[in-house]
Assembly symmetry: C2
């Protein structure tokens, strides 16, 4: 059981929780587990997978239309200017979202006007065909093996796993079943505003140039509730944006498990706590289980 986990507090907490849930007879339909994706189930550095996908598209647009090359975020995407993109993140952590707004505004236009089915085909092709920039493996092989084992272990004990991602649901869905064993209908994520138009081949749903909602922070428990109509027993995340979802996995009369993945393994993955400060503090005071990638993961990735 959980062969890629080292023996330690995290593994013990997981096993204890599962055994308590099963022996306590918590009904199977209440055994809901919710996991963030980027940085929790797979690698999110140097940038989330969807960011790479979207920036390549912006660069493509700037290649086709030179006037875009003078405007952010197309300029940074076209010039591969990691500096500007890094500033977006660091200023965001400092509470200044001016550049983040510019970035999101551009990103909203990356695939505006295309049908959800065409978008699905493009993300599918990207996800299957693209290498991680530094890890020497395809993006699909950047899933954390111990977390995949955890998903299977929960399933074997009657749990239903859901993904609640800040990345787009339509972006993730083409590969979630294959990579994480989570079927598309159990994937919640950010979404563009969508519109429907009638036609003679079954109607078309089109992505607008406008965000529907960002599935982060308080939206995570709200979206999970909206889909499932239940409070989860298990929630796993790795950043401040996961705090509300982890809080939400608390019950007056049932065991619960809150996991926070700590990126402290510069050698095998990446070491960072930026964007996770509040979550780590909260973990300390709330009895959440911190999973150290360095100490708790016997291995991190599977075959490349």
């Amino acid at each position: 059981m959980l062969p890629s986990w080292n023996d330690g507090a995290a593994k013990a907490a997981i096993v204890e929780f599962v055994e308590k849930t099963v022996s306590g007879g918590v009904p199977v339909e209440e055994r809901i587990a919710a996991f963030d994706a980027d940085g929790t189930l797979w690698c999110e550095k140097p940038a989330p997978v969807e960011a790479d996908f979207l920036l390549r598209r912006l660069a493509e647009q700037a290649t086709a239309d030179p006037t875009l090359r003078e405007r952010q975020p197309w300029k940074a995407a076209y010039e591969k200017d990691g500096g500007w993109l890094g500033q977006v993140i660091s200023e965001h952590y400092d509470g200044d979202d001016a550049k983040a707004k510019t970035l999101l505004g551009g990103v909203a236009q990356a695939y505006a006007g295309i049908s959800v089915e065409d978008f699905q085909a493009r993300s599918d092709a990207f996800l299957r065909g693209t290498q991680h920039p530094t890890l020497g493996r395809g993006y699909l092989a950047t899933a954390y093996v111990p977390m995949l084992e955890l998903l299977r272990y929960l399933e074997a004990n009657g749990f239903t796993n859901h993904m609640v991602s800040g990345s787009g649901a339509d972006f993730m869905r083409p590969i979630t079943r294959e990579v994480f064993g989570i079927p598309p209908e159990r994937v919640t994520g950010s979404a563009m505003a969508l519109s429907y138009s009638s036609d003679d081949h079954g109607g078309t749903i089109t992505r607008a140039a406008q965000l529907g909602f960002l599935d982060d922070g308080p939206q995570k428990p709200i979206q999970l509730w909206s889909r499932v109509g239940r409070r989860p027993l298990v929630a796993g995340g790795n950043s401040n944006g996961d705090v509300p979802m982890l809080e939400f996995a608390q019950h007056p009369d049932k065991p619960s498990l809150r996991l926070l993945v700590l990126h402290d393994d510069a050698q095998r993955e990446f070491a960072y706590t930026a964007g996770a400060e509040e979550a780590l503090k909260k973990a300390g005071t709330s009895g959440w289980t911190v999973v150290s990638m360095k100490n708790d993961f016997r291995s991190v990735f599977g075959a490349a």
Copy 2:
């Protein structure tokens, strides 16, 4: 198979579609069926079940606060003025939504400020404890037996059934598994705007006094896509608001089934086509299967 259906074109179309899907080897994960609830899976006359629930609450509020008795929709709810409520519907069908706006504005305040879990408990109690006003049976026993058989028949052939209701998802969910065999996580419906607040008992999701979205018309395929990430093979409805969802169940290379329930049985249920005119016209020109309650249903309801 389908014992409560009379032999006829509708039953034949259903069986032919299912056999073609199975023998054609359409993958199980693509066998998605989506059904409207009110008027399609259970009775919606003289008013949708949720309307009864909400109007009682408005009357309760007017009982507690006399100033509300002079304002619509509390006035009509308090005086049980079916006339005003009837006008809302008939003016809506004529394209005038002034009164509908007043009604929705009031309805949005019916359960504003309570947690989703408290709301769930109240709708659960109402649904299990309330009689249909004229049919001599509880609301839960107003489900159409032939449609329940259809859901089970589809399931037995590898389909996954979803409910896509104009009524609130949080209203329907407490009873959908028991009555329709559709678990809460496969129920899509209208939703109030929700907010999340952190607290020391797992956080609280609260209903705002504002509609999130009305799951009707073009929202039905959009919401279904947002949840499932797939185009359905089967769609069933009974009114104009279901037209986009029925359109959306069309594939260039796979069989599909579009069912439109026709309320033509004044003796056993209700006879009406108001609000279904466009859907009936579209059914005629698009090869959709019209299900006559009078002719195709051997029985309508089960044990009271």
